[in-house]
Amino acid sequence: MATTTTGAEEVKQKNVWNGGVAPLKASYGKLMMWFFLLSDAFTFSALLISYGLIRYSYPAFYGETSNFEFSQEYWPIPEKVFEAVPFLHGIELPLVFVGLMTFILILSSVTMVLAVEAGHRMDRKDVVKWMLWTIIGGFTFLGCQAWEWSHFIHGTDAGGLMPDGSVFFGANLMQNQYGPPLFASLFFFITGFHGFHVFSGVVLNVIIFYQASVGTLERRGHYEMVEKVGLYWHFVDLVWVFVFTFFYLI
């Protein structure tokens, strides 16, 4: 080939966008995962910015945080809503449980990156080990979220006063003891959409865990699939970082 190359072909070969080379130095699959994640980032941005729009258009609670009470008149303070922890009924522990969930997701992100690192070294035993820890972390997070949804839906002992004078416990898409109904709707949509991402991430992780443990990936000669689902899994963690800030902290 090299001996028959003409001048024109040489110019063509030097142009990185004319095919035959990988200008972004990444495989097709990895590249498409990145662009999918970019589009997913837009979806989550739209959800979180819509939360910002609705929250900012509602009246806020003015006054000391300690004097806060649930009301349909203003947007709730999240740390007053999310203060329950399993097995510790009746004790106010603001944000402790979501903080714990954040730690769990960060930890499962580390185990994922360790699986990717083991894949680079063709270390099948380590890939399997760290993928398993990642799956356990994912299921733990999902379990925590299920508990949190259940508590949010069933409500507190005192409940909240509705505009018609009745007392309502918990929240659904129509009524909400914690504040305006839209607060509950946004909670269900944003954390639900994220939770669905975590769930599909766990499913992908289980598939790759299986392929790694039966040796499919080793026979393929590389562990790039671990890297691709790793990108997805880190993205799920990244989204949670933003949900934590904009939904629970601010």
Binding site: A26, S57, P94, G99
Partner: protein, 109 residues
């Protein structure tokens, strides 16, 4: 194929301790920043200054996750920019919808 191969095939290599320690260090940074956010939420009075701090700390965490865990830092520049530049649309949406929100709030309440 050559350059288009997904990764070059290598045989088993032992773990590089320093590489793994670096990953755990980043995880520690993320955990500490989260703990700081948690403490600030309980200690500091609510207001624009606290919200700004939260957003800044969130961007710090996002940087570590994207640059180190997703390893975007190690990709070629063209790939980095083709992921980062489209995110200006997000900034546009934030500005547009928050301006809209203050107007809706003024009309409704």
């Amino acid at each position: 194929m050559g350059e288009l191969d997904e990764t070059t095939s290598v045989s088993y290599q032992p773990a590089d301790k320093s590489k793994i320690n670096k990953l755990w260090k980043i995880a520690l940074i993320l955990a500490v920043v989260t703990a700081i956010e948690f403490a600030f939420a309980l200690i500091l009075p609510r207001g624009p200054l606290l919200y700004f701090t939260f957003i800044a700390l969130t961007i710090v965490k996002a940087f570590y996750i994207v640059a180190e865990f997703m390893h975007l830092k190690g990709e070629v520049k063209t790939l980095i920019w083709s992921i980062m530049i489209p995110l200006v649309f997000v900034i546009w949406l934030i500005i547009a919808l928050l301006a809209e929100a203050s107007s809706i709030g003024a009309l409704k309440f």
